[in-house]
């Protein structure tokens, strides 16, 4: 290895470039800009104001924040539902008045005051909700008018009853506690705000009514057509917003013990600003409670901070305006360009020096020497099939294969002319295997591990494994389950080829060449899935050894085959049995003579091998060239290899014509024939193996003669 290559390998294999892309795929990076704004604001004012972070000071100064965030929470829900509520300020003021008047004028207990405030809020919210949700009036205009009505009502009430409120001597410890007291060091309003935020967040993200709100906001028409009760959903968002405003109104009532003409003035514009600074979009479709909260904190900390630093009228608005503009512009640009950035940086190739290999050229005399035998196959289902990645035969000689349409097709013995859709699963069924009771197990690309009973019942066995702590992408999900096989004890061993790409993006994975393939096991006894091995370059075919004590699995992009021990002294470990093959291995299956068949989906080329030693070149290639111009692994010539349990290559079958089976992803021996599948083929091939045991079948080899 030259020094330059060593540097390259350090640079590309040790620097975790791929993490940037993985982080960018996260939904929460959507919050990056508002969060940054939050950190800058809090840090800035925290250092500028002495004692800003002092607990005692925070307890008092965050009371207003608590009330404000509750209002913002309500507004965000309305906005997520595709509306807007400008009347929050009025509802806030009216509820505050309701609480104050019940407590001071009618001298009722605190809970009555709270009930009065909530009733006011719900009533106002219901009016808004009825007008906007049920009558379908325009939200902006309608809530603007209800805002003015509410404000006028409040002013009239304050003028007429303020004097009575002031003269009242009503006292209550509970009232004072809500306004002044703390629980575990938190003021009541902050605690309430936290509870509201958590409950609302969970409701929005994990409950049916919450999903309905998001669906309506995302596309009202589609939600309507999907049968969601749009009107009721919208109605409820306004009621909720009214409820939130009323709770906030009650809290300020207890804090200030009075209602004045200025209560809640301009609150709507401040709340709207907060929601927007946090990154919630008007008209629905994008946003969250967290965003709203971040916006609320930013806006309030800044407004109060500037006042506290003694800046005069105007500075506040100037900074707020600037910040709103900058935050929103960056946010919008970020939102628009994130997927572009993601496309640019996600593919992060690594350095790999492939080992020297033996030639596969016809006449080279090596065990890998390709011949023309596969061109002699007869075709089954020509033109009816699309993408039979794997093929398998049952005890009754019927042939099964998956298709790109998410179906498993069955060809009936003996002539395989007749076919039917055996089961529809979805995804892209890849590897197939029969278990002891004749259930067809399939690795379905992009979905997981599935089982189809002889009665054609489809059952999901596994779609996820344990989440590892260090991985940034969600590696619990099975993105590309590829092949499976069943152990004598019924456990299903299967591979998940890559953690970083979906099944259809396998080519990107080959170009990146990062080792992220896994071997997993599903235990039918308790339904659990465990990761056994990790870090293979596209883990692919799996085959149980004849004695059932170990299994073979292929590592495609490294051109290797490994043996994983299930029992014996090496149980739980893997060893490489074949390395540096000239082709990319795919599925592996048992042969009747005690050896194993292995498919080559394609052949190595010197050019691609060379490119693997130049990760920078591959990175530039994916960024700057259209996909058609990329350098891919060659998948236009392949073959079938037979190897022994010790890894010795017995023979190699090929198709030099390039007509019948240039690429092979799977083959299955059955009663003297070899059935050949290919993921890009439109048929299954059938090749008569000279001298093979004509009684040998897969199910019998695995599960014995009995039914």
């Amino acid at each position: 290895m030259t020094f330059r290559e060593r540097l390259q390998s350090w640079r590309y294999n040790l620097v975790p470039d791929h993490l940037i892309g993985e982080i960018l795929t996260k939904r929460w990076t959507d919050n990056a800009i508002p969060f940054l704004a939050l950190v800058i604001t809090v840090a800035g004012f925290g250092t500028a104001i002495p004692g800003f972070f002092k607990i005692a000071s925070l307890q008092d100064s965050t009371r207003q924040l608590g009330e404000f965030s509750i209002v913002v929470t309500g507004l965000v829900v309305v906005m997520l539902g595709g509306g807007i509520d400008l009347s929050v300020g009025s509802i806030f003021a009216l509820s505050c008045f309701a609480a104050v008047s019940v407590f001071f004028i009618f001298e009722q207990p605190v809970w009555m005051a709270l009930a009065a405030a909530i009733a006011t809020g719900l009533a106002c919210g219901a009016i808004n909700g009825y007008l906007v949700g049920v009558l379908r009036l325009r939200a902006f205009l309608t809530t603007l008018v209800t805002f003015i009505i509410g404000r006028a009502l409040f002013d009239i009430l304050v003028v007429n009853f303020a004097a009575q409120i002031q003269l009242s001597m009503a006292m209550s410890d509970v009232w004072d506690f809500i306004g002044d007291g703390t629980v575990f060091g938190f003021s009541v309003s902050v605690l309430t705000a936290i509870v509201f935020a958590i409950v609302t967040h969970i409701a929005l993200t994990r409950s049916r009514p919450g999903w309905h709100v998001l669906a309506v906001g995302g596309s009202r028409r589609s939600a309507h057509n999907a049968g969601i009760r749009v009107k009721r959903t919208v109605f409820l968002t306004y009621v909720f917003s009214g409820f939130c405003a009323s709770i906030a109104g009650f809290l300020i009532a207890t804090r200030l013990s009075g209602a004045g003409p200025g209560t809640g003035l301009n609150l709507e514009i401040l709340a709207l600003t907060a929601a927007v600074v946090g990154g919630n979009s008007l008209g629905g479709g994008r946003g969250s409670i967290v965003k709203g909260l971040m916006g609320a904190i930013v806006v309030l900390v800044m407004t109060n901070g500037l006042i506290r630093l003694g800046y005069g009228t105007g500075t506040n608005q100037m900074v707020l305006g600037l910040m709103l503009a900058v935050a929103v512009i960056i946010d919008i640009r970020w939102l628009k360009n994130r997927h572009k950035v993601l496309n640019e940086v996600y593919v992060a190739p690594v350095y790999l020096k492939m080992g020297e290999t033996q030639s596969a050229a016809p006449g080279s005399g090596t065990p890998y020497e390709l011949d023309n035998r596969l061109s002699e196959t007869e075709y089954i289902g020509l033109g009816e099939l699309e993408g039979p990645e794997d093929v398998i035969l049952d005890r009754d000689d019927n042939l099964y294969c998956g298709t790109r349409h998410g179906e498993i097709v069955r060809f009936f013995a003996p002539d395989y002319k007749r076919s039917e859709v055996f089961a529809h699963i979805g995804g892209f069924p890849l590897g197939l295997a029969f278990d002891r009771s004749g259930n067809l197990i399939s690795c379905v690309g992009a979905m997981g591990l599935y089982s189809v009973s002889p009665e054609r019942e489809v059952k999901r066995l596994s779609a996820e494994t344990a989440r590892s702590w260090t991985s940034i992408v969600d590696d619990a999900r099975l993105r590309d389950p590829n092949d499976c096989d069943v152990a004598p004890d019924g456990r299903i061993y299967f591979t998940d080829s890559t953690k970083r790409y979906d099944a259809h993006d396998w080519a990107l994975d080959s170009i990146e060449n990062r080792a992220s393939g896994r071997l997993l096991v599903y235990d039918p006894k308790d339904g659990s899935t465990k990761t056994l091995l990790d870090g293979y370059r596209y883990a692919n075919g799996v085959c149980m050894a004849h004695d059932g004590k170990s299994l073979f699995f292929a590592e495609s992009w490294a051109c290797r085959v490994h043996r994983y021990w299930l029992e014996g002294p090496k149980a739980g470990t893997a060893e490489c049995v074949i390395k540096d093959m000239p082709g990319y291995p795919d599925n592996i299956n048992r042969a009747s003579d005690g050896n194993y068949w292995m498919a080559w989906l394609g052949m190595r080329t010197p050019s691609f091998d060379l490119s693997l030693r130049h990760p920078g070149m591959r990175k530039r290639m994916t960024r700057r060239l259209p996909q058609d111009d990329w350098l891919f692994p060659n998948i236009n010539t392949g073959g079938v290899v037979k190897f022994s349990g010790t890894g010795r290559i017995v023979e190699t079958l090929g198709d030099l014509t390039g007509v019948s089976h240039p690429m092979v992803t799977s083959m299955r021996e059955h009663k003297g024939y070899l059935y050949v599948g290919g993921i890009l083929n439109n048929r299954v091939g059938r090749y008569r193996i000279p001298g093979a045991d004509e009684g040998w079948t897969g199910p019998r080899s695995y599960w014995g003669a009995g039914k």
Binding site: G82, G83, I84, L131, L135, R136, L137, R138, A139, F140, L141, T142, L144, V145, T146, F147, I148, I149, R151, A152, L153, D155, I156, V159, S219, R220, R221, H224, V230, N266, I269, L272, T273, V276, S281, L282, G283, G284, G285, Y311, G312, T313, G314, T315, N316, Q317, M318, V319, L320, G321, L322, L324, A325, V328, I329, I332, R333, K336
Partner: protein, 323 residues
């Protein structure tokens, strides 16, 4: 078709205005005098002028929440410059540049940075107010210097009708002609109705967007000058008042859809008429302001509800994001 057109929102608003007008005319002494009619028009002329600017922006599927800030702050800055002894020509040139810059900035951010108009103008309105208030002027209210042309201008009368009314009328006619009869005026509707289609057929959608915000800013400046001319001072507190809501209300209540592409000068005039007649009648009856607000908004709500009942929106054809 004819039936449904008769019952459109603008029809309802016009009918409401007419009913109030007739009732007030019959029952309130002094309501129907020419003087009072002029004062009705005058009382809504600045509001109407601002609403005209807003209408152009809204028809093009935008909104200009910075209008009031630009109106008050540009003129406040202008007067401050004059009070500090700057020559009139220089002062007005500088302020005009400022107004243009803000209009351009708004338009640029909406058109080229793809930021929704409501955010851009909310931010720029706040910034304009804050910057001018904190950096350029020292007090909420700035007086017009004695014997300045603006003070005399405010006292101008023609046929005993204040000059504002004529300016309002002239602007209304101008904008009507622009929207109705010029190519670019029609483009405003196309761009408002379907910006993507408008762009595909080759309409310069983005430059026109910028133009609309510049027009709106200039109109706001004119409205500010008229306010100062009449009151001999400008109070920047107006930015924090409900004037902004009133402008949107006048534009939208008359039947200009916030989704764009619909309405025109006529709708602004109807909306302004309704508000003007209502306020004037209530002032004559001597209803306190807080009750006036209640009555005004209740009538507006009734108008909206009737419109909603007569012209219900269809789930299938309603536009996404139409709030």
């Amino acid at each position: 078709m004819r039936q449904s057109r008769k019952l459109s929102q603008e029809g309802i608003v016009l009918a409401t205005a007419a009913v109030i007008f007739v009732v007030a005319g019959l029952s309130l002494p002094g309501f129907l005098t020419p003087d009072n009619l002029v004062s009705i028009v005058r009382s809504v002329s600045v509001l109407g002028i601002l609403a005209l600017g807003m209408a152009i922006v809204i028809i093009g599927r935008g909104i200009d929440l910075a209008a009031v800030a630009i109106m008050a702050m540009s003129v406040a800055w202008y007067l401050q410059l004059l009070n500090d002894g700057m020559a009139d020509g220089t002062a007005i040139a500088i302020v005009l540049c400022g107004v243009l810059a803000i209009g351009l900035l708004n338009g640029f951010l909406v058109a080229y940075a793809d930021v929704p108009a409501i955010f851009v103008t909310l931010a720029s309105g706040s910034f304009v107010f804050g910057y001018v208030r904190s950096q350029l002027i020292s007090q909420d209210a700035v007086p017009v210097p004695p014997d300045h042309w603006l003070a005399r201008f405010g006292g101008l009368r023609f046929l005993d009708i204040p000059i504002e009314v004529f300016i309002f009328a002239a602007l209304a006619v101008l904008i009507f002609l622009f929207l109705r009869f010029t190519k670019w005026g029609r483009y405003v509707y196309y761009a408002g109705d379907n910006p993507i289609a408008a762009r595909n057929i080759g309409i310069p959608v983005r430059p026109m967007l910028v133009l609309r915000y510049v027009i709106s800013a200039l109109i706001a400046f004119v409205a500010g000058l008229l306010t100062a001319a009449s009151l001999h001072s400008i109070n920047t507190r107006v930015v924090n008042s409900t004037l902004l809501y009133d402008i949107v209300l006048v534009a939208v209540i008359g039947g200009i859809g916030l989704t764009g592409g619909k309405g025109g000068v006529r709708n602004v005039l109807f909306g302004a008429a309704l508000i003007g007649i209502m306020l004037n009648a209530m002032t004559i009856i001597d209803i306190p302001l807080i009750y006036q607000n209640l009555i005004k908004s209740t009538i507006l709500l009734a108008a909206i509800i009737i419109d909603g009942l007569v012209n219900p929106r269809d789930e299938q054809t309603a536009q996404q994001g139409d709030i």
